[in-house]
Point group: C3
Chain length 145, copies 3
Amino acid sequence: MSTQPATRVATSEFEVRTHGRGFIDIGDALRRALRESGLREGMALVFTRHTSCSLLISENADPEVRADLERFFARLVPDGDPLFRHDAEGPDDMPAHVRAVLTGVSVNLPVRDGAYGLGTWQGVYLWEHRSAPHTRKVSVTIIGF
Amino acid sequence: MSTQPATRVATSEFEVRTHGRGFIDIGDALRRALRESGLREGMALVFTRHTSCSLLISENADPEVRADLERFFARLVPDGDPLFRHDAEGPDDMPAHVRAVLTGVSVNLPVRDGAYGLGTWQGVYLWEHRSAPHTRKVSVTIIGF
Amino acid sequence: MSTQPATRVATSEFEVRTHGRGFIDIGDALRRALRESGLREGMALVFTRHTSCSLLISENADPEVRADLERFFARLVPDGDPLFRHDAEGPDDMPAHVRAVLTGVSVNLPVRDGAYGLGTWQGVYLWEHRSAPHTRKVSVTIIGF
């Protein structure tokens, strides 16, 4: 354990265009934000300003993992479930909110030696839960030195 | 991306009185904590010191969304489920712990220009999972400048 | 609310040897990381570099709570579910990824007066989701003063 110099904050934002329900790897945008920050040790908060998409860390090698996640959540939170009364925007409206609550709208990442301290098989994804394409805003806050 | 001055920590706590199972908007208490911190850019950790309530971000416009979330979780994690052996405090005891694990006891918020960097439709809620009223402790840690 | 001196970062890592599916209390390792950091006020990010185990906060008094969590997730995400196509490593392969997505690979903890600001009944656990033993890497990032 080593204690380090005084820390600074770096903030940035980017947009993600989604193509309806599915996963989008946001690793490139996150690496650019870190590189431009000039920070090398600390932590990052990645946050999306919506309630019907998620940010999450998942396996990045086999695309079938994301397909299985989609199949699992489609069964767990069915579109058009008569349980749901909030359906003004269609059968995927409330399921999108439930999925976002179950999987979260932010991820926290360690920063080590100028890179994210992720494992080999960890990717960071924006998960669009709505059937239609959307433009999603993501903010990055990095604190460190 | 811009890198900013050295950061400081601001800490505070507040209590939330719940009325049994349901959502309580904690936005006012969070905005007060930020205002009193004097910090304008950075990140905030909001944390509750319990294992049977949650903190979460959800849609803030239509109360039916929270009602649907409650209905969904009541079906997913049924009170009195014979699967559960930990029931010393009643049929809602273990379901409250499962709900807290599924939805989390903390939220992380970006801070931008002296406000939380939330989307228009995002609210921050304490979700009481027990049937009886409780007094819940929430801590706020803001790091920034 | 009080605003504090400039903050510093302390980083460390440790490994957890698991014995197949189950919970391991990582409180001792976390307290050691905090003690060695010399920091007393701020926040900590605890992060595991894997996609088939979780970090979570749960009830620490009655071991039956963890047994009930295990029973609940075994029913919610069944091993060998024919829904899953990603099964190269066995019937527990994809369920481990789903469990990790549902419960998260990091926890954020407030730091107060040289200790974690946890409630009396809150413990921090690594939850192994694979049937076989693994060695899991956990990183700790503490920012504060």
